[in-house]
C-alpha cells in the first residue's frame, strides 16, 4: 500500500510548484513551526508567499538566535509592527508566543507590553509568554485577565496582579510556570474561569492555598514544585487526571474527584492510610503512579478498574494488590513482600535495588531474588528486568540443579543493564536467562559498551523430547526438557545506538545541534553450533570496543 517509487533527493526537486498551492490556512500552520526570521524570509519567495506571511495569524518569537539586547529590541519592534499590521488588516490572531531568555531591561518589558496589548486588541486566542529570566519576573499587564478572547494562556516567569474589573474569562487551558501570584488573585482567577479544562501550576510562588471548586469542565490538573503551597483541594467532578509532585509539606485533598482515571503522586509526604482511603474512592481509576513518597510503608491498593500501576523509589516493605484488571506493573525499589490477585498482567517491569551492586552475588541473595521473580511467573507474559551489572541473573550451574527455574510462564524476557558489560559475555547471559525461563519465545538484552546495544533473540525449538523418554540427565530436575537439547535455531537482531556530531554543523544557527542519534543494525540466524556462534558474536563485539577493555586494565 502507499506510494511506489523511491525518489532520491534530486528527483524531489521538481519544477512544478506544489507547496504554494496549499490553502493559506495550512501554509500558516507550516509557518508556525519555523522561527519568526524564517517565516519572514518566506515573503520573498513569491508574491503569493508574501501575501501568506502578511495574513499569518500565528506569530512566534523565540530568541535563542539573538546575540545581544539591541537585536532583541529590533526583533520585538518588528513583532510590534507586525501585530499592528494584523490589527489594521482586522486579522484575528490565532497565537502569539514570545519567548526571551537572556536579555532584558525596561525597554524590552515595554515592548513586550505593547505586543501583548496589540495581540489582545486582535482577539488573540492563544497567548504564550516565556521569560525564564535569572533576575525576576515580567509584570504581566492586567488586561490579559480581562481578555475574553484568550482560550489558551501559558505564562513562564510572570507576576500576575489582580485586575480591577472582573469579567468572565473563556480560558480552557492555563499553564503557570515560575509565576508569582497571591492567594487573592488565585481565588479570583478561578472564580472567573468556569470553562477551564487543563490546568498546570509549576514552580510558582506567592500563594499558600489552591482550592479548585465547581469547575465543571476541569479535566486535567498538574501541580508541582510550588514551594509555598500548603494546601491543595480539588473538588471537581469531571477531573480525569491529577498529577501532584514535589510538594512535601502540602496537605492534599482530592477525595471528591470521583471520576478520576489517572493519578500521579510524586515526592509527597502522604501516608499509608491517606492513600488507602483515597484510592478506595476512585472506582474508575485506571492509572496510578506513586513515586518517591518516602512515608509510605505498606501499600494496599484495591481498584477494580486499575490497568497500570507504577511504584518507584518508595521505602516500601509490602505491596498488596486487589486489582483484577491490572495489565502493567512497574516497580523500582527495595525488595518487598508482594501479593496480588492480578492474573493477567501483560507486562511487568522490575528494578529491584540492592541485588547487584557487586559482581559476586551471594547465594542467599540469589535465592531471595529468584523467589521474588517466581511471584511474577504465570501472571505476566512480558517481564522487563533492569539491573546495574546483571550479575544477579547469572545463576551458577551448580545451583541450577537445586533451584527451580522461576519464570516458566513468561514468554518474553527483556533485560536492561545500566553499567558497561565488562564482566559477562552475551552467551553467559543468554544461557542463564534460558535457565530462568525455559522455552521462552524471546529474550532481549540491552547494555552499554561504547554504544548502547540491544540484542533480541527469538528462539525456535524442536519438538519436545520429554514424550519420547529421551530426557537427558541434565534436565531431570526440570518439569519440561531444557533448552539445551531442543533448541533448533535462534534469530538475532542487534541494534546499536550512539550519538555523534552531525557531519555539517550549521554555524549560523545557534539551535543546539551538538550531536545527533545514529543507529546501525545487523541480523543473524544460527542453527548449528549455536553456542560457538554466540561466542564469536561476543568476541566480535568485544574486539570492536577493545579500547574500552584496554583502559580497564
Amino acid at each position: 500500500m502507499g506510494y511506489s517509487g523511491c525518489d532520491s533527493m534530486e528527483n524531489r526537486i521538481d519544477n512544478l510548484d506544489r507547496i504554494s498551492a496549499l490553502p493559506d490556512e495550512i501554509l500558516h500552520h507550516i509557518l508556525s513551526f519555523v522561527s519568526l526570521k524564517q517565516a519572514v524570509r518566506t515573503s520573498v519567495l513569491s508574491k503569493s508567499w508574501k501575501e501568506t506571511w502578511h495574513t499569518c495569524p500565528i506569530l512566534v518569537l523565540e530568541n535563542h538566535t539573538h546575540r545581544d539586547i539591541a537585536r532583541v529590541k529590533e526583533v520585538l519592534k518588528f513583532m510590534e509592527q507586525t501585530l499592528l499590521n494584523r490589527h489594521m488588516e482586522m486579522i484575528s490572531l490565532r497565537k502569539l508566543m514570545i519567548s526571551l531568555s537572556w536579555f532584558w531591561d525596561d525597554k524590552v518589558a515595554a515592548l513586550v507590553d505593547r505586543c501583548v496589548c496589540f495581540a489582545i486588541g486582535s482577539n488573540v486566542k492563544e497567548l504564550k509568554l516565556r521569560f525564564p529570566l535569572l533576575w525576576g519576573r515580567y509584570n504581566l499587564p492586567q488586561i490579559v485577565f480581562c481578555a475574553k478572547s484568550i482560550n489558551v494562556l501559558e505564562l513562564d516567569h510572570c507576576t500576575l496582579s489582580r485586575p480591577r474589573i472582573g469579567v468572565q474569562l473563556s480560558l480552557r487551558k492555563l499553564c503557570l510556570v515560575g509565576v508569582y501570584v497571591d492567594d487573592q488573585m488565585i481565588e479570583n482567577l478561578f472564580a472567573r474561569c468556569p470553562l477551564i479544562e487543563y490546568l498546570t501550576i509549576e514552580s510558582s510562588k506567592g500563594f499558600k492555598s489552591l482550592e479548585l471548586f465547581s469547575l465543571r469542565k476541569l479535566h486535567e490538573v498538574e501541580i508541582s514544585s510550588n514551594a509555598e503551597l500548603k494546601k491543595v483541594e480539588i473538588n471537581a467532578l469531571n477531573v480525569h487526571s491529577v498529577t501532584i509532585t514535589n510538594m512535601e509539606t502540602c496537605v492534599i485533598n482530592v477525595a471528591c474527584c470521583k471520576n478520576l482515571k489517572c493519578l500521579v503522586l510524586s515526592d509527597l509526604s502522604i501516608t499509608d492510610d491517606w492513600l488507602c482511603n483515597v484510592i478506595s474512592d476512585f472506582s474508575l481509576l485506571q492509572f496510578l503512579s506513586i513515586i518517591y513518597c518516602h512515608k509510605l510503608r505498606s501499600l494496599k491498593i484495591s481498584g477494580p478498574s486499575l490497568k497500570e500501576l507504577v511504584i518507584i523509589g518508595c521505602d516500601l516493605v509490602e505491596v498488596k494488590l486487589e486489582t483484577p484488571n491490572l495489565s502493567i506493573f512497574r516497580f523500582h525499589g527495595h525488595p518487598i513482600s508482594f501479593t496480588s490477585n492480578a492474573m493477567a498482567l501483560s507486562e511487568t517491569d522490575l528494578y529491584i535495588y540492592g541485588y547487584d551492586d557487586d559482581i559476586q552475588v551471594d547465594i542467599q541473595v540469589l535465592v531471595k531474588y529468584i523467589e521474588l521473580l517466581a511471584k511474577f511467573n504465570q501472571c505476566s507474559e512480558v517481564l522487563n528486568l533492569e539491573h546495574c551489572t546483571g550479575a544477579v541473573v547469572i545463576v551458577p550451574r551448580e545451583w541450577r540443579q537445586i533451584l527451580h527455574p522461576p519464570l516458566c510462564g513468561v514468554k518474553h524476557l527483556n533485560l536492561l543493564i545500566d553499567d558497561d558489560l565488562f564482566d559477562f559475555t552475551i552467551p553467559q547471559l543468554v544461557d542463564s536467562l534460558l535457565w530462568l525461563s525455559p522455552h521462552i519465545e524471546t529474550i532481549s538484552m540491552s547494555f552499554p559498551l561504547g554504544h548502547r546495544h540491544e540484542y533480541s533473540f527469538q528462539f525456535l525449538y524442536k519438538e519436545q523430547l520429554i514424550h519420547k523418554g529421551e530426557n537427558p540427565s541434565c534436565c531431570q530436575s526440570l518439569p519440561i526438557s531444557c533448552w539445551q537439547n531442543c533448541l533448533k535455531g535462534v534469530k538475532i537482531e542487534h541494534t546499536a545506538t550512539y550519538f555523534a556530531r552531525p557531519a555539517s554543523v550549521d554555524r549560523f544557527s545557534l539551535e543546539r545541534k551538538t550531536s545527533e542519534k545514529r543507529t546501525y543494525e545487523e541480523r543473524f540466524y544460527f542453527h548449528d553450533n549455536i553456542w560457538d556462534e554466540l561466542n564469536n558474536l561476543h568476541l566480535n563485539l568485544r574486539n570492536k570496543f577493545s579500547y574500552l577493555f584496554d583502559g580497564d586494565k
Binding site: Y3, P23, I26, I30, F33, V34, Q38, V40
Partner: protein
C-alpha cells in the same frame, strides 16, 4: 494485538476516483470527518459507504498506512517513543513534494490533527535554515517578483536575511 472473539467492524470509504476502501473501525475513526459522519448518523447501517469526494485513492492509501501504524503504536503504549519517530522518518523519506502536498490536502480534509501536524512540520523542517534560492528550487516555487520588487521586500525585512545557511 487484536482481541480474540471480538468481531472487527469494517468501515467502507469511497474516494473521489471511485475506489472503495475497507478500513478497520479504529483507523477510520482517526478521521474526524468519518467520526462525525457516524456521530451524526447513529443509526447508519454497518455497510454504509462514506463518500470522500475530496480525496483520491493514492493519498488515502498513504493516510491509512500512517493512521494504522499510529493506532497500533498507541495500543501498544509506544506513543511518543523512538519507534514512532523511526516509523515517521521512514514514512516521509520517500515522499515527493507532490505526494506530500496531496497527503496534506487529504489529511486536512479528513481532519486528522496528528497527521496534519506531522506533515506540516515536515514541510517546515524542509524550509528551516535554508536560503530563499534553495527553498524556491526545492519546492519549485516560481519567483514572480521583478528584481526591484524582490529587493524592496528584502530591504523591508533586512534583519531576517542575515546569517542564512546556503545549504
Amino acid at each position: 494485538m487484536s482481541k480474540l472473539g471480538q468481531a472487527k467492524r469494517i468501515i467502507f470509504l469511497k474516494t473521489a476516483d471511485g475506489q472503495l476502501f475497507e478500513v478497520d473501525e479504529p483507523v477510520a475513526m482517526e478521521f474526524e470527518i468519518v467520526k462525525s459522519f457516524f456521530d451524526e448518523n447513529e443509526d447508519a447501517a454497518d455497510d454504509t459507504v462514506v463518500p470522500l469526494p475530496n480525496v483520491s485513492a493514492e493519498p488515502l492509501a498513504g493516510i491509512i498506512e500512517f493512521c494504522k501504524a499510529h493506532v497500533e503504536f498507541r495500543a501498544n503504549g509506544a506513543a511518543g517513543k523512538d519507534e514512532v519517530k523511526k516509523f515517521n522518518a521512514e514514512y516521509i523519506k520517500e515522499k515527493s513534494n507532490e505526494q506530500l502536498k496531496e497527503l496534506i490536502l487529504a489529511a486536512n480534509y479528513l481532519n486528522i490533527k496528528e497527521m496534519l501536524d506531522f506533515l506540516t512540520e515536515t514541510i517546515a523542517n524542509r524550509l528551516k535554515n535554508k536560503s530563499v534560492e534553495y527553498v524556491r528550487a526545492f519546492f519549485g516555487i516560481e519567483n514572480d517578483f521583478t528584481p526591484q520588487e524582490e529587493e524592496a521586500v528584502r530591504k523591508e525585512y533586512e534583519w531576517a536575511f542575515e546569517g542564512v545557511d546556503e545549504d
